[in-house]
Symmetry: C2
Subunit: 430 residues, 2 copies
Amino acid sequence: MIDIATRVWNHTWKIDPIVRSLLDTDFYKLLMCQSVYRNKPDVRVTFQLINRAKHIRLAELIDEGELREQLDHIRTLRLSRGESTWLRGNTFYGKRQMFSPAFMEWFENLTLPPYHLEKRDGQFQLTFEGLWPEVMLWEIPALAVIMELRSRAVLKGMGRFELQVLYARAMTRVWEKGERLRRIEGLRLADFGTRRRHGYLWQDWCVQAMIEALGDKFTGTSNCLIAKKRDLEAIGTNAHELPMVYAALADSDEELARAPYQVLEEWQEEHEGNLRVILPDTFGTKEFLQRAPDWLTQWTGIRIDSGDPIENAEAAIRWWKAHGQDPREKLLIFSDGLDVEEMAQLQARFAGRVKITFGWGTLLTNDFGGLVEGDALAPFSLVCKAVEANGRPTVKLSDNPEKAMGPKGEVERYKRVFGVGEQVGREVRV
Amino acid sequence: MIDIATRVWNHTWKIDPIVRSLLDTDFYKLLMCQSVYRNKPDVRVTFQLINRAKHIRLAELIDEGELREQLDHIRTLRLSRGESTWLRGNTFYGKRQMFSPAFMEWFENLTLPPYHLEKRDGQFQLTFEGLWPEVMLWEIPALAVIMELRSRAVLKGMGRFELQVLYARAMTRVWEKGERLRRIEGLRLADFGTRRRHGYLWQDWCVQAMIEALGDKFTGTSNCLIAKKRDLEAIGTNAHELPMVYAALADSDEELARAPYQVLEEWQEEHEGNLRVILPDTFGTKEFLQRAPDWLTQWTGIRIDSGDPIENAEAAIRWWKAHGQDPREKLLIFSDGLDVEEMAQLQARFAGRVKITFGWGTLLTNDFGGLVEGDALAPFSLVCKAVEANGRPTVKLSDNPEKAMGPKGEVERYKRVFGVGEQVGREVRV
């Protein structure tokens, strides 16, 4: 029986919206947003879409009108009562009322600020300017929209059964990854794949498949909407955006050198336990740890998001040991371009020496590599970053110079201030 | 939006019926049924389920109560008005009104006769006794029910996503077969997979996938319900059952020797063109052709359903040539245990020498081999055959002694009467 009302209702949508909820974002954006709302509510920032894969000419693939419609739709979204209730009432990392009443009231009244879009040289110049706590919430939906419009563009014109078999192949691939991961003793991983997902429904499918395939080994998802819908733990802590903006706001080299630690000092006032996770690579992991204040060694863990993961993990373990900490009580979170093989290797190397967990991103939620003609669905590296704060450019050094950002002169200054020397480049796949 | 009425309606079904229409059967059963209804309406026959794969203990896998419910449901089915209209109004092989008003009236009032079911030694003893035109219509639904109950039994207890991935893998396999077949120049094939299908919905999916994958190369399906639903040509001619029953009714060796030709003499009065297809292997292809009357060489084609297909096809070509017929005007239909490789080989060998087409059965609609633990969904050879006619046993010799049937003494007598000597056995996979 056809549900006529549903069919007619579907026809009343002008578009098929990709992002349908302000909760369709990564949990750490909300944690950081609350922190920014409390500590830096008046800072003005610019976020910008950056396609690291220049050969993928997004503006030739994706219709600008369709992109505008999707972005305009996001600007109509408001936090619903049920979504607000979920945020207010939920327990995150065992803690209730993670979000303050003041922040929740602000969030309930939020609509996302305007965007600026033009085409240049086959790419979209997409920027968001305004107050930091508002603009920062564009990052994930903007990426998700571009990624899904790209998928739709590639899939247009395929036959109905050809499409079904494409998804059959992709499902089989994801499931087989799950089967391999299930056999890894002691593994723990979460979905970190929102930003580069093939599509919303696909991410939701992958998460559900992992729930069934991995059981307790699957600890949750970074996506708040999917966490809510599938009754999972929402996972995440903080990102490069905090030290990058704090650093840009610094008025002197001395302030600059202090900025990454100041961020964490403020974070420490707000969060405890599993939320006290250091992301040390913004301006070089080795140098960050060398200069870190003693109280940081008390923190629960370190997230490793660039560079050689084994090298950085060994450095973290050495750092803890050197400060009298037992690494077996500490947590390492790996989150950079992981797939099954990398997780298996890291698990084999570090299990028993330190607690470890994985944030599995693009290669969970967007591994369509090789599945269509010309590999036109292969994952690629797209980011949306804070590029300016109060009129000053931001800088990221990373442990991989391929991921570095910022004007040349500023990059040199940061390298000097943070004592970062020669770095080894690694190909950025995803 | 959930369609509440549909959900509630579904709950009103006592079971999930496998066969839901009297058209869910092979087209040739209806053609043969009309012929039997006209020529032998009062013959009493017994059909019996025969599981050639003894190691598959069906009665231990399938619940007897569930089987009874499914069979009982089939006995409640009547031809609907729309189904009758389709049969009355359709063009089959370019001919209108293939079914006479008298036959249609009889069919519209038909319900299937009772069945007899018991368990013995891990197998079901399932028999159908009564008038030939009624009993014969049990064959396909009985097989389809057993095959699908076996699938359901094996799949019980699997997880939701595990199941989805199982079907994803099976879909990918079918699609990849389609992709290979699409590249074979001049190929023509039809679905003959009703009787051994994994399930009804699965057969329907496979047929639709082949429509998309093969385009004009896919000529139709033997399944009347799916042909009706998907607007395809219903395909089929006649089967072993006719000569087997005619032979059993013969009162002397002379009558027995004539029986296979008498069947076709009557068929010739009813059908022309593409429906004049000889199935020569019931009592040995070579011997059948040697003794065939001259008028049979005028027929359109020969179906090759056992033995070595190349050998039998060459024999058919030689036979036509020896009788002054141009094989390039003749049709060979291959229908025995085919898969992609066999079709590719036969096509390569015979294209240009003779018209050829393929009836692709079990390995289209039930290729789940290797996809579950213990290969518990591997296809196997299940048939439902006429074993008695007016109290006398039937016999089949086939070109493969592994497919022979009948009491030993009778088999010897038939071999003598039809002049069949030593035969080479071939493993019966499906």
